[in-house]
Symmetry: none
Subunit: 539 residues, 2 copies
Amino acid sequence: MANFVKIFDTTLRDGTQGEGISLSVEDKMKIARKLDSLGVHYIEGGWPGSNNKDIEFFTRVKELGLKHAKVTAFGSTRRKDTLPENDINLNRILEVGVPVATIFGKSWDFHVHQAIQTTLEENLSMIYDSVHYLKNKGLEIIYDAEHFFDGYKNNADYALQTIKKAEEAGADWIVLCDTNGGSLPHEISEIVSVVKRSVSIPVGIHAHNDCELGVANSLAAVMAGATQVQGTINGFGERCGNANLCSIIPNLQLKLNYSCISEEQLQSLSNVARYVSEIANMHLPVNQAFVGAAAFAHKGGIHVSAILRNPSTYEHIKPELVGNKQRVLVSELAGQSNLVFKAQELGLDFDHNNEQSRKLIEQIKEMEHQGYQFEGADASLELLIRDAYGKQEELFTLESFKIIVAKNAGQPVVTEAIVKLNVNGESVYNAAEGNGPVNALDNALRKCLLQYYPVLQDMHLSDYKVRVLDEKDKTAAKVRVLIESTDFQNTWSTVGVSANIIEASGDALIDSLRYALIGKTRSAVQAEEQKERIGLVNH
Amino acid sequence: MANFVKIFDTTLRDGTQGEGISLSVEDKMKIARKLDSLGVHYIEGGWPGSNNKDIEFFTRVKELGLKHAKVTAFGSTRRKDTLPENDINLNRILEVGVPVATIFGKSWDFHVHQAIQTTLEENLSMIYDSVHYLKNKGLEIIYDAEHFFDGYKNNADYALQTIKKAEEAGADWIVLCDTNGGSLPHEISEIVSVVKRSVSIPVGIHAHNDCELGVANSLAAVMAGATQVQGTINGFGERCGNANLCSIIPNLQLKLNYSCISEEQLQSLSNVARYVSEIANMHLPVNQAFVGAAAFAHKGGIHVSAILRNPSTYEHIKPELVGNKQRVLVSELAGQSNLVFKAQELGLDFDHNNEQSRKLIEQIKEMEHQGYQFEGADASLELLIRDAYGKQEELFTLESFKIIVAKNAGQPVVTEAIVKLNVNGESVYNAAEGNGPVNALDNALRKCLLQYYPVLQDMHLSDYKVRVLDEKDKTAAKVRVLIESTDFQNTWSTVGVSANIIEASGDALIDSLRYALIGKTRSAVQAEEQKERIGLVNH
């Protein structure tokens, strides 16, 4: 039987301190449901003493009937020179009716003097009183020792006194926080070991990523005896973020043989990472460990030919274990083995020697020579392969577009797009405005298509990139436009290349819409089911 | 005296395996120059045996006269059952004329069988022969032991034989590669210690980030005795990237007291990270450790008030040590000192306290908040300063422009621009075609201006870059356009920001033309002399 480590998720509290992250109560509800299905043990929902939105969340989260996770509320120790009974912050935790309180207090003597400006003795009383007060009300108490590692390095004796005081007051857990993210794994390891010998209640770790060591520090703490890990999905959080649970959980479970969540739950990890980043409206980096779209993507030709022989030659785990998948990027660096692999993925019998395949390879080479790059544009590549094999239904074709951008000095610029499409044999003509030419074109295309394919409503562009290909040609240079689109199930990328940025963008936009419609016509029912599952349909 | 660790940068080779990264020879030259000024010890420029673009780089990099860094070329051991003298891959390394060769070979018995399909004995000979051949030609040899950690875990004895063979053949370094990024810090530490006892030449580490442990693994190796670290700027690289030098260097130097580069060079780290990501057209995550724009940004209310009392309450290092800055206290502009310096350069007496200067600083802060960045756009900054001080003659103003982009299926796209300018009080109205909207606008502007300022004929655009600023807003996001222009004397850069790419480009184009005219009215004679000197005038 493997050692068990409890996962404490603070995406909804510490995660929201990240730059650009702002979650509505509705967003938090969706994420809480998802975290529960992932199997985390604690969900820290917010700080009721500092934020009314958080109070609403704690009220509404009870409706969800979470199965695995205990919901916990965050708060500081009582203010100096007051009674816990009179502390609004502590009483709010009681009022919101959670089974678990997470109370943070000072461990670093320097902070006691500088930040809260009181005596070391009063700080110890603040810790004792706060934990004791809430424990007596029947709550499970997680005591978060803020800046513990810095405190220990500065005054080990005092730092240890603070956590012993929390233990004495009845805390169920001591969680050691590397609040500013400045500690290194060997320090974490050594200090956690000392703490394990100093207290008899279980110990946890709360790490940050300021040295790009948040994951390593969390693992080091567990190997030194910690049995709770606090972190966030995708490492969201202030500055460089909190320790990333999406890397910590698979490392603990697949590499170090600890047990946190079930195998099936681990297989939903990539989906959880993408879902949470969608809800938070944050870009999920393609190169994110374990869950990123490029985490198991292979570009180098030698790698790809080895992968085709045996995936474990260049993959450290089976991607399916974390719900991700192997991808092969087609690029000039690689051989045709990449393309064979891609076609196999689509269930096509790719024969090098038949006429179709030879033509397709020629076409792709020619396009790459013109500046296309398919390694970042899987969906455009799939459309090419499908077209070559006649597997692609032609749902619409572009007949014409016109874009007008007009600017008069001192007035806002005006942009209009006029589009003519042939949809299922009918001619559709429509116009739209936009913030810029690409946005106007996107709007006009959708106006034409939505009446035929309302399912396109769920899809939106999530990234737009422009690369000038040959600087020597100045403003007449070719540009490559990459567009990333997303619905609630998938993310796909398309590419366009032209000397004209509008034409390149238009090509990528049209590919994106075409790709969205393959999926939709194929699996409209599945999509509805999925939406229902993730709570986007109101009953 | 601190222990010394050599930094081996492979941004230009392994970094280009990252999804979406593609560097022209010109890009590689710019990055090489920047890496040299950062003080890295080795720059791996490419794989001459696999790529003609890389050969051109090795030829041209000699023009740069790099000061610190040795340039190295990458290649595999000779193919099985051949002589090294007949191996194109090895001979290419000799032909490109580098002082250092980085040769990789197999350490994992499984890979010998599966990937290169030969015997364990032949693999040992391939290593010996390749290292010996190049060493005899006078090169410094870095032997990269691919998949060393997996190899060691599977068959320690054989893995050690492979590196001993490289040592015996004359290798100067053994670099242990965790090629698939699957190892953990405690394993790295243990295995590096064994290797240190088994060979007598220096040992290095090459880690990947598949477990989000690339930095931790590199540090663990150094603490176990490695004295070379291979990695890339911003952790660019295949799948989840290579180990990130932008985190490894400050951790080694500021936390562990190793010495890699000078203090001044370390202070340029954030600038290098941003420069390289600009050139590679990759988004630098705001939360990137040490160098990201949010790495020292404070959002939480309690943090901010503590920070105001004493920054070290919530900052693990002084941001200035890595050339970054705290975000709550300082303006967005990298120190007003830049502005003072720039104004002095223009012969203006810049007084912080006068009304003009305060207004200008406010204006620049506001523009930076909107997404302007003047670090790469000196000419636009100079125009702002000149305008604020009334030192800029208004030679022309834009009255209006209109761009029309029209596309009919099966026909080439047509782009026209119509421009109305006021030049010295006269209204000038003209139109032009172009390859794309920006080119058409550039052509129309010139048509209006050339009759008044024929000297503009000498100037042309030398670079055009587009950056999407806020991915969340999809195609309605703001874009920043950077334009680099050149005449025969100078190169200058201008910037424009708008939700509309055409407007942003137009602003940058107009700044570029305005800047060109300051120079020209000031030094038309000098320009003529210059043209004569470089042979552009026919006699």
